[in-house]
Symmetry: C2
Subunit: 194 residues, 2 copies
DNA sequence: GTCTATATGAAGATAGAC
DNA sequence: GTCTATCTTCATATAGAC
């Protein structure tokens, strides 16, 4: 739910979004942010008083984008298989960033889980959103509990691919594994249709 | 290959190993380390002049432990399936830490991949070690390239499970997915035996 | 709203006494 | 080898002029 925000706030949030992804939340500094959006450090504090506030704003921003994206997918893809495969497609589309910075959602959550539980709880909302959307898709074919399990498994599979691809800066691994996961989905839904 | 190291060096390395895992490399400070091993900060610098040196020492320490562990597994488990499943078992055995701090190898690598490529290269040796050991196991049943691919896929699957389990502090997910992966290995090796 | 200047604290790292 | 004291740099955060 985006509150009313100034152009400046928007541009700060976008810069921070990128910096968190590329440097990590704890490494990113106010100096980095100020430089990235051409503001003075002092002026930044006019908009956001703490790093935690910035994180919250970035997560809200990401969640808005994700909700729009997922809604668009439902318009665009009529079948469950297409929707699930579209999810897998993300890592293909983002390959060139993923091999360097990993998954924006996954890497942030891992960082914050180490000793910043309040912040991790905020970051986790990204997982919640994908998880519930994927569950909703699987529920068209499966009982509630099984749908939940498959949603989580699919997320685990894509996250795992990203971790290994980042470790080796290996683009081809992403391609190869995306195909494997897509085939797994085909076989799975095929088995369920019977 | 562990060089000759004093008792003090060993105890520092073990403290740092833990701190990197629980707080992250960049968040961990010399103050943390000094407190953790009951030394003064100044004295710490007598043993290790920089944080990078500490990282190298910790990775060497971890690699030694891993090599010993893998060698022991080869003594203990005669079959490929048992060995691969023993690898999957790690996340079961470490569940109570994993749900809070993730994978020691994976989370460190993800952190360092963001803007510290020289340090990531050091950390990546942990992945290399597992990867080549797993490949060696698969090569008993598969051609070189396929063995490599399956080794990476197995690593991706366990890493992914850990990411999701950490996101939700969900122990049961680890159990559930470990069983699934074990079954996948059974089916896979079964298919190859034919 | 935007800036510069500054307060304050913590980090990595060193010097030198013991 | 171990300590305390200190240097320097950089971080978060604030104050106050414009």
């Amino acid at each position: 739910m985006a509150r009313e925000q100034s152009k400046q706030q928007q541009s700060i949030i976008q810069a921070v979004d990128r910096l968190i992804y590329e440097k990590g939340f704890n490494v990113m500094s106010f100096k980095d942010i100020a430089e990235a959006c051409g503001l003075s450090k002092g002026n930044l504090y006019y908009y956001f008083k703490t790093k935690d506030e910035l994180l919250k704003a970035v997560i809200d921003y990401r969640l808005d984008n994700m909700r729009n994206m997922l809604q668009a997918w439902e318009q665009q893809y009529p079948t469950v298989l297409e929707r699930l495969q579209r999810y897998v497609q993300i890592m293909i589309n983002e390959t060139s960033q993923v091999i360097y910075y990993g998954c924006p959602m996954g890497s942030l959550n891992i960082e914050l889980a180490k000793g910043q539980p309040e912040l991790q709880a905020i970051s986790r909302a990204q997982f919640d959103l994908f998880r519930s959307w994927l569950k909703k898709q699987f529920k068209q074919l499966l009982a509630d509990k099984a749908a939940e399990h498959y949603a989580m498994r699919l997320m685990a599979r894509t996250q795992g691919v990203v971790v290994i691809a980042q470790a080796y800066q290996d683009k081809r691994f992403i391609k190869r594994e995306a195909e494997e996961i897509n085939q797994w989905l085909v076989d799975l839904l095929d088995g369920l249709a019977k």
